[in-house]
Symmetry: C2
Subunit: 112 residues, 2 copies
DNA sequence: TGTAAATACATCGTATAACGATATATTGTT
DNA sequence: AACAATATATCGTTATACGATGTATTTACA
């Protein structure tokens, strides 16, 4: 599990990316996906997940639809047009950020 | 300039890395170094820099020495033994984190 | 059949990191 | 003389995230 310090600020980008690749996903599904695809290193807690999803809905980056599964109501999220643009932009920014960090953290080869 | 969201949580790692590669540095020097080596994309503001440095000194990750430069007092920071270990550990964690993020943000190749 | 685990959503209060604004003083440049 | 750059510092605010906790349904299994 990575330090929460590190993960902060990446959640939104990760969620946007997942919704970019999948037509729609629900909260629990998102958290499970991240856990499984990160070897358990990324565990997005509910206390963070749902507020982020609600905020993104408020900002019109995602739209939500309630789907009845038996007696249970599941909330599916999908990207809006603005969300698609935001996803592209955030992912691009993160990639540039990684390139910069890679340079800065590059091992410093010193002569013996 | 990357969104402050993204930078959060990386400052400490960056500072530890700089002090790992340089025998000693002072605050202003650190901020200038990051700015220059990131194409201006990382501008660590004073309001963030000094509190971080003070906290790291308090945690005994760095030691500080005052050096008189003419009439001015410059505060040099260098890694303690604990700081050297922390630097290695933080840099390693960040590298693993980047590998995970790279996988998760990998372009999703779809057939046309 | 009972119960524990997994699924699924939610919110409140707290913690803390980072930042903008602001302040002080020296040194170099025009 | 005035401005930019160097150099450090702190205060108050904001944003984000998180732990704890709560509710309810569904599945597994003993």
């Amino acid at each position: 599990m990575y330090s929460s310090q590190l993960l902060k600020g990446t959640y939104q980008t990760l969620i946007l990316k997942l919704l970019q690749d999948h037509p729609r996903m629900y909260g629990y599904e998102i958290s499970q996906y991240l856990k499984e695809h990160s070897d358990g290193e990324i565990q997005l807690p509910e206390g963070s997940l749902y507020p982020i999803l609600h905020k993104m809905a408020e900002e019109k980056l995602v739209k939500m639809e309630r789907v009845h599964i038996g007696r249970r109501v599941r909330r599916y999220y999908s990207l809006t047009t603005a969300g698609v643009a935001e996803a592209t932009s955030k992912i691009d920014e993160f990639n540039r950020f990684m390139a910069t960090m890679k340079l800065l953290l590059k091992p410093n080869l010193k002569p013996l």
